[in-house]
């Protein structure tokens, strides 16, 4: 029997479906604790204070997040950064990591099958029901009445970066201009924190460089909708396609 929970946190909403909800209270508490520490929308959060240049207490989690962001920045030749628009904002890593924390806590409490969606980023574990893998719809950025693809799997992560709802909001650090090469790009990987951060980076890179970057890496695949509606996918993406 699936247990469902929806929690408004981190400026968005997390929804959890799990075959065993024992870990949900701990996961929800964890989400709020991460939000309190890392929110860029709360003036009093340590991250906001750091962004203003104030001194904050040494915090191993903040240090870890900044280290991860720096790794991904190097990994993506600067296409991902914890300093979009010049100001400290590690949200591009924190949200996916928070989803992974929910996954970890649910698993620790005994859940073997669960799906966590946080602001459109998805981490799937196990399967939806016996013999049926999880199915995730990828929103079509150009056609409100359709999905552009359905993907299916057991242990996988799906992250989409796009302009449809929030406009051109992803800044290409290389040019300091909004990236416009994709309508949306979806990455599939195994764990959502890296998958999400990479999706942001690939969006900033644009189709030509971004998709090639994905092709060169093991363990992630990409599916893109271009501004003219054409779709492009990496060679291994098809194995996730449902139906």
């Amino acid at each position: 029997m699936t247990v469902r929970h929806v929690e408004q946190v981190m400026g968005t909403v997390f929804s959890i479906a799990a075959d065993d909800g024992a870990g949900i209270p701990a996961a929800v508490a964890r989400l709020h604790a991460l939000d309190a520490k890392f929110s860029t929308y709360r003036d009093d959060s340590p991250i906001s204070r750091m962004a203003r240049g104030e001194a904050v207490e040494r915090d191993p989690e903040i240090a870890e997040v900044l280290r991860r962001c720096a790794e991904i920045e190097a990994d993506t030749d600067g296409a991902f950064t914890a300093y979009p628009a010049g100001r400290l904002d590690p949200s591009g890593w924190v949200k996916g990591w928070a989803i992974e924390e929910v996954d970890r806590l649910l698993t620790a409490a005994g859940s073997r099958n669960h799906l966590i969606v946080g602001g459109g980023d998805v981490q799937a574990r196990g399967e939806a029901e016996l013999g049926r893998p999880w199915t995730v719809g990828i929103a079509d950025p150009l056609h409100p009445d359709r999905y552009t693809a359905l993907v299916r799997g057991r242990d996988f992560a799906v992250a989409t970066s796009g302009t449809a709802e929030r406009g051109a909001h992803i800044i290409d650090p290389a040019t300091a201009e909004p990236a416009t090469g994709f309508a949306s790009v979806t990455l599939i990987g195994t764990r959502i924190a890296h998958t999400d951060a990479y999706a942001t980076a690939v969006f900033a890179m644009g189709p030509e460089r971004g998709l090639e970057w994905v092709e060169e890496r093991a363990g992630i695949e990409a599916y893109a909708v271009l501004p003219d509606g054409a779709t492009v996918e990496t060679a291994g993406f098809a194995r996730y396609l449902a139906g």
């Binding site: 408004q8 909403v13 799906l115 359905l150 060679a235």
Partner: protein, 192 residues
Amino acid sequence: MRRAIVTGTATVSGVVLLLGLKPHSDTPLAGKGTNNNFTITQSGAQGSQPGAPSAPSSSQSGSAPSSAPSSAPSSSAPSSAPSSAPAPAKSSAPAPAPAATTKNVTGDAVDTRYGPVQLEVTFNGKKITQIQVLQYPTETGRDQEINSYAIPQLNQQAMSAQSANIDGVSGATYTSQGYQQSLQSAIDKAGA
């Protein structure tokens, strides 16, 4: 090195749905808090939906009284009467009365970064047959733009998710999450 493959036909069209956009004024999104009926109803094309009323749209706004789809919907949307009674007295024909009952459930009003989102969901048994957006952010032109895009898409997603066994949606953001939360609360209240 492998190269990206260009494909042109990945669009999913497996689920046939009918979009019932019904603008009441010059702009379909005018008026915060008003009952703008971005409704969506399931088309009858899905043979695998026994019991789901295949009404093309709810009764208000005088849309064409469509030549009676298989089973007449038992509740007209705005009345909100949770007609849990089996079909109104009017039915003269021995209609194949759906076993499930229809009820309307109002979801929580969910605050998003852009403003509140609230839905009313019509259930036939456990099936969602209609979703109306009661409130959504319309403060700015940008909000309207976002919502004119997002709301029909979200309705689509919600309606198709249950029939195509879609468990989650990638690509949604803030407004959509308010939508999902209001939808989820309505589902929870309905015990569906």
